[in-house]
């Protein structure tokens, strides 16, 4: 396998190799959490962001989850109104999180939203289904083409036990995705 890859790399030029590297590196770093879809809806002046994202646990992260280590996913949403000649105006900013934990007593996964609502689920797929179409109440804001949406979803490493910090260089822990697009680009 490796021999064939090297043989291929020898035949191809540097530009191709670089492009391939860029492509794969994007896949690696965006890997574990990725945003499938994002949309906005408005209901009686109240705007909602509908977030559809997926979380894939693998390697050490999955092992830690199954050992009962709580894993918190933090979501940070900022919406700015772009100004051409002045500083951007932040019209919305809110942090949310949900925490996953395997409960050995119940043999179930516990999903908790913002420390309030707790549900118990049989497997990770059930969790993923619960994460489908998350609604984010934005309140009464007016979104325009000049609005810029900045969404960061990532593993909150600060909530992990200290002993794990030493292993955080493992790629499986590098769970983070950043979305920074204008409202116009999204729709």
């Amino acid at each position: 396998m490796m021999v064939s890859i090297i043989a291929y790399l020898k035949k191809t030029n540097f530009l191709k190799v670089f492009l391939l590297f860029c492509f794969f590196s994007e896949q690696i770093f965006a890997g574990e959490i990725f945003i499938k879809d994002i949309s906005f809806k408005k209901n009686k002046k109240i705007s909602y962001l509908i977030l559809n994202h997926d979380v894939n646990f693998s390697g050490d992260a999955l092992l830690a989850l199954n050992k009962g280590i709580p894993i918190r996913i933090r979501m940070s949403l900022k919406i700015k109104e772009k100004n051409k000649f002045w500083l951007d105006k932040e019209i919305f900013s809110e942090d949310k999180f949900y925490q996953l934990r395997y409960r050995n007593l119940f043999n179930k996964y516990q999903l908790n939203f913002n420390g309030e609502k707790t549900i118990y689920l049989d497997n990770i797929d059930d969790i993923k289904s619960k994460l489908y179409n998350l609604e984010w109440n934005l309140g009464e804001i007016n979104l325009s083409d000049t609005s810029e949406v900045n969404l960061i979803i990532g593993l909150d490493q600060s909530k992990l036990p200290k002993s794990l910090l030493i292993n955080l260089n493992d790629e499986s822990w590098d769970m983070k995705v950043v979305l920074n697009k204008s409202y116009k680009e999204l729709f």
């Binding site: 050992k67 009962g68 280590i69 007593l105 119940f106 200290k162 002993s163 910090l165 030493i166």
Partner: protein, 705 residues
């Protein structure tokens, strides 16, 4: 640098405390900041290593430059470092071993089995509770479905109470509404069951966990089958809380199990993190201690270095060096004060010594000046004739190098054997017990030239030591002058006393011859003539002698005039052209003029030529060479003949009257020559040629006027 090191040490200590606290107290520092803390510590350690390396480099540079105190600082630093490293390293090894064994001891099969068993117990209990709620819900559902329509509500309430269920409700899926609710206490309308839950319940039973108000409930869904075979779908929802006593125990077991699982998972990480922390603590402790040891070592070595530096300065003669007194009352402070006091005293003593030395030097310079300018030679010797002082005039008089005056006086004999007499004279006096001084004139030959030296030896006592001061004067010229003076006086008297009666004697003899010429017999006549002739001849001789004496005694009044030297000498030589002597001129310049008393200079040349003629009488090829030439401000005359020369025993006294190698000579010729040259402020030397003959060299001051 001192403040930097102190700051570093303080920061290191703070980090050390933070690190230790963060391990024991999770709330104090978050996981994220803990990682930052570890990195910061590592970075700080790196900084400390660089700082220490710089310090070591600086210290070695100081040692290389031989800065005082740097070696002491190095020793102190090494001592402090060893004092810290050895115990801390031992503690580290023990802690390392203890830590790894402690962590390993946390995990063993028994503990894991016990925890697993406890958890299984909880799980089984939960299963039993689920089974219980399943039976209860199914029983209620069956009873509710088969009861008469009117009795159903009462039955639901009755069964809920009977089974000890907290809440039971009947849900109409088609209408999506709750038909019946039986609850011992509900304040708000319960949520409608989710379609997912109902879908799962369609198979007969579904139970799920619900968490509310810190209590976990079991919520079961069972389809209701009415005996009327109604096609509509009805579901029974039964909610039963897990008994708190069971739940709390089960949750605590789960909590411990989770913790154990987490520890198991992070076993290696834990080891690494604790060892890393321990290593960081060790490094921080050691490096902070080493960094601090530089400051402490410098504090210790600083006063000692200052003392050493000051001592070096004092050794080099700088007695003004004062060490700043830092007001310390310890032994070092006392040492500094004592040192300062010592240097002040030394400085005062040195100033006094310098003053004395200057005074002594001035006295010595004064004495040297006197000795140098003294016309007499001075030599100071000890009793054993060791010379302790001599002046330049002594070297000149004795015509010796100064080297001969270093050491014993006997060394002078090596320079000239003639000095033996002088040395013996001094030695005899030194060995005698005479307290007076002695004086004696010594005639010493220097290159065939006689010198009369008057030696006076004085015995003095200086600081209890007997010294002999030898004063010597070259009295050759004085003696010569005195001798000439005496001879002049004699000559003058002779000329005066003898010349006057000579003419009457001669006339009387001639008259006697003339009167008695015819009156005597032939025999008597012969005797008369012979006697009178003898008288006349002798009178003539006496006249000549008297004239020479008169010339010698004549007063030195010179009538100087300018003459052309060559013509002057040539005319004199012409007078002797009849003689069979070859006169040769060399090294001459015909145009040379000189201002002299020409009659006296003529006398000089005549006397010299006359002397040479006498000396050349028996020479086959007699020759006289005359040369004159200018040299510096002198006109030098060389007069050389190839005669018999002058006997060596009289040549050094040849200028004296009545000293002559000739049988007939009066011995006044060269004495007159010497006197004339001396009157002209000139100089004359007479030596025998190496082969034969005499060389007379005289010089006269050259004045072109």
């Amino acid at each position: 640098m001192k403040y930097i090191i102190t700051s570093f040490a303080l920061i290191g200590l703070s980090l050390l405390i933070f690190l230790a606290k963060s391990l024991s107290n999770s709330d104090l520092i978050s996981s994220e900041s803990f990682r930052a803390l570890i990195f910061f510590n590592a970075f700080f350690i790196f900084g400390l290593i660089i700082l220490i390396a710089l310090q070591i480099y600086k210290l070695f540079q100081n040692i290389k430059k031989e800065i005082v105190g740097s070696r002491l600082t190095l020793r102190l630093v090494l001592s402090f470092t060893l004092m810290v490293i050895i115990p801390v390293f031992v503690v580290y090894l023990v802690s390392f071993n203890f830590l790894t064994k402690s962590i390993d001891s946390w995990f063993n099969v028994k503990v894991e089995s016990a925890l697993q068993g406890g958890l299984s117990l909880g799980q089984k209990t939960l299963e039993i509770l689920m089974k219980d709620i399943e039976l209860k819900s199914k029983s209620i559902s069956y009873s509710y479905g088969n009861a008469r329509k009117d009795d159903r509500r009462a039955l639901l309430f009755d069964l809920r109470q009977k089974f000890g269920i907290s809440e039971a409700l009947v849900y109409d899926q088609q209408k999506n509404e709750i038909l019946e609710i039986a609850s011992d206490q509900y304040k708000e309308i319960p949520q409608l069951p989710s379609s997912d839950d109902l879908l799962k319940a369609e198979n007969g039973f579904f139970v799920k966990l619900v968490e509310s108000d810190d209590t976990i409930f079991l919520r079961a869904y069972v389809p209701i089958k009415y005996h009327e075979n109604i096609t509509k779908k009805y579901f029974l929802e039964v909610t039963q809380p897990i008994p708190s006593a069971i739940l709390n125990v089960a949750l605590s077991v789960e909590s411990v199990f989770d913790e154990y699982q987490q520890l198991t998972y992070s076993r290696t990480s834990l080891k690494i993190i604790y060892i890393l922390t321990l290593t960081l603590v060790l490094l921080l402790a050691i490096l902070s201690a080493v960094a601090t040891s530089f400051v402490i070592s410098r504090r210790f070595s600083s006063p000692i270095s200052q003392l050493a530096d000051a001592t070096r300065s004092v050794a080099k003669g700088n007695f003004k060096k004062i060490i700043p007194d830092q007001g310390k009352k310890d032994e070092l402070g006392l040492l500094v004060q004592s040192f300062n006091s010592m240097t002040v005293q030394l400085n005062q003593a040195t100033l006094m010594a310098n003053k004395s030395r200057k005074s002594l030097e001035q006295s010595k310079a004064f004495l040297d000046s006197i000795l140098t300018n003294l016309s007499s030679g001075v030599i100071v010797v000890e009793k054993n004739l060791e010379i302790i002082l001599s002046n330049i005039e002594a070297y000149k008089i004795l015509e010796c190098d100064s080297d001969f005056f270093n050491g014993n006086l006997n060394k002078l004999i090596k320079a000239n054997k003639e000095f033996n007499e002088i040395v013996l004279f001094i030695k005899n006096f030194a060995n005698s017990n005479k307290n007076q001084f002695i004086e004696k004139e010594h005639k010493i030959l220097f290159n065939k030239k006689e010198k009369i030296i008057r030696i006076q030896v004085n015995k003095i006592k200086n600081l209890g030591k007997v010294l002999f001061v030898i004063l010597m004067d070259d009295i050759t010229e004085v003696t010569k002058a005195q001798r000439h003076q005496a001879w002049s006086e004699v000559a003058r008297r002779l000329a005066h006393e003898i010349k006057n009666p000579l003419t009457p004697i001669q006339l009387s003899a001639e008259r006697l011859q003339m009167k008695l010429k015819g009156n005597l017999s032939a025999e008597d006549n012969i005797i008369l003539n012979k006697s009178t002739d003898t008288i006349v001849d002798q009178v003539e001789s006496l006249k000549v002698m008297v004239n020479e004496f008169a010339d010698y005694a004549r007063s030195p009044q010179l009538k100087k005039e300018s003459i052309q030297v060559y013509d002057f000498i040539a005319k004199i030589v012409d007078l002797y052209s009849s003689n069979n002597i070859k006169f040769t001129f060399s090294k001459f310049n015909k145009s040379l003029n000189i201002v002299v008393d020409k009659n006296k200079l003529r006398q000089v040349f005549i006397n010299l030529i006359e002397n040479s003629i006498d000396a050349l009488e028996k020479i086959k090829e007699p020759e006289i060479k005359i040369a004159f030439y200018k040299k510096n401000n002198l006109l030098i005359f060389d007069f050389i003949d190839n005669g018999d020369g002058i006997p060596e025993d009289i040549i050094h006294r040849i200028y004296e009257p009545y000293v002559s190698s000739k049988i007939k000579g009066t011995g006044l010729g060269l004495a007159i020559v010497y006197k004339i040259i001396e009157e002209h402020d000139g100089d004359i030397t007479i030596i025998n040629n190496k082969q034969r003959g005499v060389k007379v060299t005289f010089s006269l001051p050259y004045n072109e006027e």
